[in-house]
């Protein structure tokens, strides 16, 4: 019986350890840049979520953020990078369709880059959560987005003019210490108990 428990426990343990949860919010919307103020504005709505319970109501939701251009790195002949800093107060706000504030945050970093001559590119950023129902899950989170169909192509002078376009991305929260990990520890404990009891029983049966 103990051997059976040990085997089952080990199978259970290794079968469950690969599962983990990363809360993620997906968004889709528009991006615009105002060259006079140097401000970039993203206005979007949530289109999906994973590993968030209860799942937010996506209909009527909003995901907006803004930041100010701080410098342009055009040292590469192949691509241009715009570096942004947060604005005063919260930079990012995510509200679900029931008007619950899911997340507010400030950018620790934000950059936009794209191949010179191309009208699509990449936005990456790190967010420090400051409030909202998901503040704990998104403590320090990452933003990654594809911007496309921009009205200007990437170049060293692209930030001298206004431009706009589409954006599609996601905010990825911190990996949750999942339930399977707890089960794994329990499974290992059971396996250990089962294994150390095996020789004892074998010894006592010979007496």
């Amino acid at each position: 019986m103990n051997k059976f428990i040990a085997v089952i426990s080990v199978i259970f343990t290794f079968g469950m350890t690969s599962a983990y949860a990363v809360p993620t919010l997906f968004f889709d919307g528009t991006i615009s840049f105002d060259s006079a103020s140097g401000e970039i504005l993203v206005s979007s709505e949530l289109v999906d979520s994973i590993d968030i319970a209860p799942a937010p109501n996506l209909t009527g939701s909003s995901m907006n953020f803004s930041a100010l251009l701080s410098s342009v790195d055009a040292t590469s002949p192949y691509f241009t990078v715009g570096l942004f800093a947060g604005v005063a107060g919260d930079d990012l706000s995510i509200i679900d369709g029931d008007l619950n504030t899911l997340l507010t945050g400030e950018f620790l970093s934000l950059q936009m880059k794209g191949g010179n001559g191309r009208n699509s590119g990449l936005i990456t950023g790190v967010i420090d959560a400051t409030g909202g129902n998901l503040e704990t899950e998104f403590g320090t989170s990452n933003l990654i987005a594809l911007q496309l169909n921009l009205t200007s192509s990437f170049s060293a002078t692209m930030f001298d003019s206004d431009f706009s376009g589409d954006i599609d991305g996601r905010v990825v929260g911190e990996e949750i210490v999942p339930e399977p990990a707890v089960i794994s520890i329990l499974g290992l404990g059971l396996a250990f108990i089962g294994l150390i009891r095996l020789p004892t029983r074998a010894y006592s049966s010979t007496l």
Binding site: N119, G121, L122, L148, N149
Partner: protein, 184 residues
């Protein structure tokens, strides 16, 4: 060369150039593709080497820039290609599938362009070869980004614009022909 001939040459050049320029934009509706590590799909995202470029990701929605996205049951997206990437730019050819026969396609000129570090973007024309989502359209466009193994992409599901361009172009040719006859 008189004005009419110059105009006709200009229009003919525009006729051939325009579809290429228009292909530089993703045409909507488009499939919204993300890799989702840890999801039930266990996507591994992008894998770019010197000679291969593969994507294991998920189609999460049909994106529409004139209205809300259309949520669909998640579908596997797999792309496999071979080519040459020197660390700054590369060209690949291969094929992709969406779900279990929803959409299949091929491409022969997928450009991968480094954005520094582990970041890159990729784009190119695709030819749909089958699947229930292909409809009567045979061409499309993919545009996406990579950051490490992370990937986000949009795959134009239908491309109605080139057809309109050809119609527009044939109309222009007609106008040129008429103007030539008049000048003669």
């Amino acid at each position: 060369m008189n004005l009419s001939q110059r105009l006709s040459r200009l229009l003919l050049a525009a006729l051939f150039i325009l579809p290429g320029v228009l292909h530089a934009d993703v045409v909507y509706p488009a499939l919204d593709i993300h890799n989702i590590p840890g999801s039930p799909q266990f996507d591994s995202g992008a894998n770019l080497t010197g000679f291969t470029f593969d994507i294991d990701a998920t189609v999460i929605a049909i994106a529409n820039n004139t209205g809300p996205d259309i949520d669909i049951p998640d579908q596997d997206f797999n792309l496999a290609s071979v080519g040459n990437y020197d660390g700054s730019i590369g060209m690949f050819s291969g094929s992709f599938t969406v779900g279990g026969g929803l959409l299949t396609g091929t491409f022969s000129d997928l450009v991968v362009l480094s954005l520094g570090g582990s970041d890159a973007e990729f784009y190119g024309d695709v030819i749909y070869t089958g699947g229930s989502m292909a409809g009567s359209f045979t061409t499309g466009y993919i545009d996406g980004i990579i950051s490490g193994s992370d990937v986000i992409a949009k795959l134009g599901a239908v491309v109605p614009v080139p057809a309109a361009v050809w119609l527009f172009g044939s109309g222009l040719i007609g106008l040129v022909a008429v103007s030539r006859r008049k000048s003669a």
